[in-house]
Symmetry: C2
Subunit: 178 residues, 2 copies
DNA sequence: ACGGTGATTGATACAATATAACATTGCGAT
DNA sequence: ATCGCAATGTTATATTGTATCAATCACCGT
């Protein structure tokens, strides 16, 4: 029975209301930037939009450049620094995350709250589940403290196979819970 | 006085017997490869040696190429694939680790036992402390299981400032838990 | 020893990711 | 208007990592 609930888990199914995810992310971005006195410029917003539009999958910086060209009138593709600077901004604001283990980025799934994210990243399809790493983060804090180490960033990324890509899918391929 | 105990922590001080670390790593490599039926060829051994010689600091693949040239008679620098293949081998055998967050590698500090490593990585000096991530790893296992995710690799890397690089070095670093 | 076989290394070229450096633009404050 | 500053554009380059195929080496059975 639990298998039918799969879409309720950290990996949203293809049927979930993803437009709501995008809207929520963009709204949160506006709010957070207003609060922080930062400027969510058109370029930055468009990059965030593209990240979110990817649907909980990791996106590379150069893929973003291609998409920017596609969605731009005239198809002008910006140069790499443009997108990297936008990504830096979004990551700084906590609106996107960098996935170091795959050299890619993802729009934040929980942009409202401060959080210490950790990620499950599918090797096959690049699907990403963003979990809250509360307990684990405290564990890391303690380890760093014990080592006399000043923690600045924690990278917790688990590579593997998501529910839809792992082979023992056979008995129940209807993951869509439909 | 307590500051003198700092070297006992996960970050070994410059005064520790590092030659023993190197010897231990190389011996463990021989043993493990013999047991696994793998071949610790001269190139692989030399790469491991260079990794270990770095003294618990992260080393980039191209730095290794430079060092290979330096330590080679005639100064012949191998091509990138040579060192990447050696690194792949060492990582597969658990004799070295890849540090995804800094695109670098490090010789394993505990090459004898199977382990689920996690790392503290200094942004200033690239010093690396390798911790055993036992409890944290079980935490990740549980999270992956709950998400219907097949875990293949866990990347746990904490960036920050090591005891010797952090600024508040002066007053009283009680970290040593004297 | 001999030749077959697969693993390892060499060598060339290239792909993918990311940044340095400087010019230009937009926009509000003086 | 113009100064100052943040953001973006532009060009070039740095850094990290692979694909591909040729040559060589270790090992095994004969
Ligand atoms: Zn969604
Ligand atoms: Zn998948
Ligand atoms: Zn040592
Ligand atoms: Zn340091």
């Amino acid at each position: 029975m639990s298998s039918r609930l799969r879409t309720a888990g950290p990996f949203p199914g293809p049927d979930h209301d993803h437009a709501a995810c995008v809207t929520r992310g963009l709204d949160a971005a506006e709010a957070r930037c207003a609060e922080a006195g930062a400027r969510l410029t058109p370029l930055r917003k468009r990059v965030l939009e593209l990240l979110l539009a990817e649907g909980h999958r990791a996106v590379g910086a150069y893929d973003l450049l291609d998409r920017l060209a596609d969605t731009d009138d005239g198809g002008k593709r910006p140069a790499p620094p443009a997108v990297y600077r936008a990504l830096d901004f979004l990551v700084d604001q906590g609106l996107a995350h960098r996935l170091a283990s795959v050299n890619a980025f993802i729009g934040c799934a929980w942009p409202d709250a401060a959080h210490r994210p950790q990620f499950l990243i599918c090797r096959d399809c690049r699907a990403v589940a963003e979990l809250d790493g509360g307990g684990l983060a405290r564990n890391l804090d303690a380890a760093a403290e014990a080592a006399g180490f000043t923690l600045l960033d924690a990278v917790v990324e688990v590579g593997g196979l998501c529910p839809r890509c792992r082979p023992d899918e056979t008995s129940d391929p209807d993951a869509a819970s439909a």
